[in-house]
């Protein structure tokens, strides 16, 4: 009888341990955001990593080729932060593009984070399409980061 109770308690403890979320490394989340696909790669999900990296990169490059504009924060425009957050989802691609457009001097300006130019050509026929691709790439990478978090936590395989 006592052995049964002990076994039951052990089983309950094991079940509770299985459902307890694992701690998630902040570094993993940071890396997953900065480099699209790297979070899944580090978790051993190689196929998904490759697919996500290829899709986000393809969407970002399409947006740049269509002369779309990256959202940057603007003074007296709180909503611009919302759009910038979406684009910031692109991680290192966002910063590289901003450096490409503004140069390192632009990032070191006294107005930072304001006063940056998001690139693009508003006269171009592809301007709004390009913006859509750039925003989509950023938002997709944010979803990828959430997916990495769920996998690392043990909520998803």
């Amino acid at each position: 009888m006592t052995a049964d109770k002990t076994k039951r308690k052990d089983a309950e403890a094991k079940a509770a341990a299985d459902t307890t979320p694992k701690p998630v490394s902040k570094l993993l989340i940071l890396v997953a955001w900065l480099v699209p696909g790297l979070g899944h790669w580090l978790l051993g999900k190689r196929v998904r990593a490759g697919v996500f990296a290829a899709i986000i990169l393809a969407a970002f490059i399409t947006g740049v080729l269509l002369k779309g504009e990256l959202a940057v924060p603007q003074q007296n425009s709180p909503l611009s932060w919302f759009f910038a957050f979406g684009c910031l989802g692109n991680g290192v691609l966002y910063f590289l593009r901003l450096i490409w457009i503004n140069g390192l001097d632009g990032l070191q300006s006294s107005l930072f984070p304001y006063g940056l130019h998001g690139g693009g050509d508003p006269v171009s026929a592809g301007f709004f399409y390009g913006k859509t691709f750039l925003y989509t790439a950023g938002l997709m990478n944010l979803l990828v980061v959430l997916d990495v978090h769920d996998i690392a936590r043990g909520d998803k395989s």
Binding site: A125, G126, T136
Partner: protein
């Protein structure tokens, strides 16, 4: 620049993305890809025609 090709390209990227994000088996991925891709492309086409009579 063909707007329809851009629409198809965007739908393709998004459909593949969600198929891999939300499904883990090949069959499920294929089904979700086809569903989302067709909804986006055919839906945009139908909406475009429905908007045609309006100024």
């Amino acid at each position: 620049m063909d707007h329809f090709i851009l629409l198809v390209w965007h739908a393709l990227l998004v459909a593949v993305f969600f198929a891999f994000l939300w499904r883990s088996d090949a069959r499920g991925r294929k089904a979700l890809f086809l569903k989302t891709f067709l909804i986006m492309v055919v839906g945009a086409f139908v909406l475009g025609w429905l908007m045609f009579p309006f100024p």
